[in-house]
Amino acid sequence: MIILSYLAVGAVSLALILLSKSHRTMNAFSILHTLSFLAIGLYALLTTVVPTFEAGSEYFYVDHLSIYEVLIAALLFFLASVYANGYVESLMQAHELHRSNLKIFYMASSLLLTTVTLAFLSDNLALFWIFAELTTVFSAALVAILSAKENIDAAFKYIFIASGAMLFSFIGLIFLYTLSGEVLGSGTLNWTVLTANATLLSPKMLAASFVFLFIGFAAKSGIFPFHTWLPDAHSKAPSAVSAILSGVLLNVGMYGILRMYAIVRQTQAEHLVSQFLMGFGLLTVAVAVLNMLLQRNLKMLIAFSSMEHMGIILLGIGVGTPLALFWTLFYVLAHSLTKASLFFSAGILHRQYESNLIQDMRDVLSLQPVAGWGFIIGSFAIIGMPPFPIFSAKLFILLEAFGFSKSLVFAVLLLLVIASAAFARFLIEAFSRSSKDTGTGELETPLLPYRVRKGMKFPILFIIFMILALGVFFPESLENLLNEIVYELGYL
């Protein structure tokens, strides 16, 4: 009944947002929406016996992995909508967002949350595919919401590259369907059935269908060379949306790849595929960090770092040992949270300077202490410094990868040095500049601090607190959850 409640809540909140007049009510409803999704997720986790089939054993399947992803998604949406209240208001004040688009914004985000949730919960891969497609559409709408030319441009890149690639993964699905038809008599795309009978499937066909599916999912989660839409979309979108894009939507693709890998790893195709994944992971990290190094645009920097982390996650999936999977899952959580905090801080800074460019920033720490320090701490967290969670996740993933190839690990380590150098370069240059001594020499008028609206600081502080807590103390419950997932994916 989980799925029904999700659907119901989704529909109701959509309707409420549709009916509501003022911004405050819309925001309130979307917050309610996210909270109730969180609640349902927790409830399902604690009470109902998972894994369980929903709505007939055809289409929906709730296991710990899906609930884990749903919870992450709901949490991020919650933070984003709390943030959005003040943020969207000031967007409208700056005439960047038109009032009559407000409703579209909230409806799209509510629809997005619902579809993402459904995608995570769907057992039938075709169903998952469709929901993933829909998430592309809605999030593209959110990117384009500012309806400035560059936003629409970014939205287009997103739609065409993501959906175009997704069509190939549909071909992959058709492969899979026929393949299963060959061995099971009647074709099926149900993940549960496929994993159960994975050993029967012919590895060659399976590898082929995996590659096709990979194309689409990789495009969704910004893996090289399908990543090209990511930096534009993430940097042009309003920061609240950017946080969701990199915190939630990238996970959708990774989720698909993970599910597929869980099928493939039972066959002889495993070796090939895991090499394939690790190779793409390494490439992605390399391209991402090289793009970061000389980056002069704050949000671009963050976007590329998302890409880099997706590369590492892909690596973790490719390594494919239980421990690696465990830490990869943890990595997903850590990355989503940290990245959200970065985007939120960047949003405040963008309000302050009306620009993301490094040369426009000055007196950051005196004008925006919270955002400034939030960004600094967030960067430390994102480059994998202890005591933040990404550190341990990174450590263990590399530890497992070492078993496959020493040189791979070494390469990744060096690339990560470049990534942190990129962040350091940006921070030192942007944050140390003060309007008293600008390099250019001409007198600059001291900026007035942008009055941060209520609710915009809370998510940043909340996340920083949370990642600190996660970094120093790894809760038992989370450990059990992750172990459950590893078990259910058939790793143990």
Partner: protein, 232 residues
Amino acid sequence: MIFSFLTDPAFLEDIVRILFVFVLITAAFILSTRNIASLLTVYTVQSLLLVLIAVSLYLIEGSQTLLAIAALTLVSKVLLIPIFINLIGEKIKISRDLKFNYMEPTASLVVSIALILLAYVFLSGFFNEVVLGKLFFIGAVIGLSLTLMGMLVIFSRRKMITKVIGYLTMENGVLLFGIFVADLPFIIEILIVIDLMILVLLTTILAIGLDSTREQYHQRLHTLKIWSGRED
């Protein structure tokens, strides 16, 4: 019975083969035309051909799904989407001539032949183990190559509208591939089409924005009453 030939499989297979040729012709046309209005009609024709293929397959195989798919495609791709795009196109005048990059029409034609070969080589690597009729195999090849051609259109044409058409072509290719390789559950087909509709809706609306110059853009969006730009 005078329509008895409709049940004769050999004849029907010939029909399907002919339709394949027509599909390829439409694809070639889409690749080579320099005029938007004709593009849309060609796309409509292509969808119609798919409908016919589906129907004749139904006559050969007789599975209800194919008929349903045919109907669905007829409604969505032959009627709704073209009408909608036309509607938009009339509301705002888009400069008629197309712009190309990376590939001139002739070049793209050559490439598309290479694509068909590639698709053939690729599929032959896999479907020798899956027992698939000759006809079906060719269908799969054409579907796959049609998808790739659609992509070719996307990146070799500047105008957004043409990109949309390219995407639709890709989707047609996938559909063709699906029809011939596997008979997916109907519900999935429906969902795909819904997704397609929404996507086209969004992209076309946005496409206006980019294909028109920046000034006209906002007031155009206002005339559409769907989307409001920022006022500055």
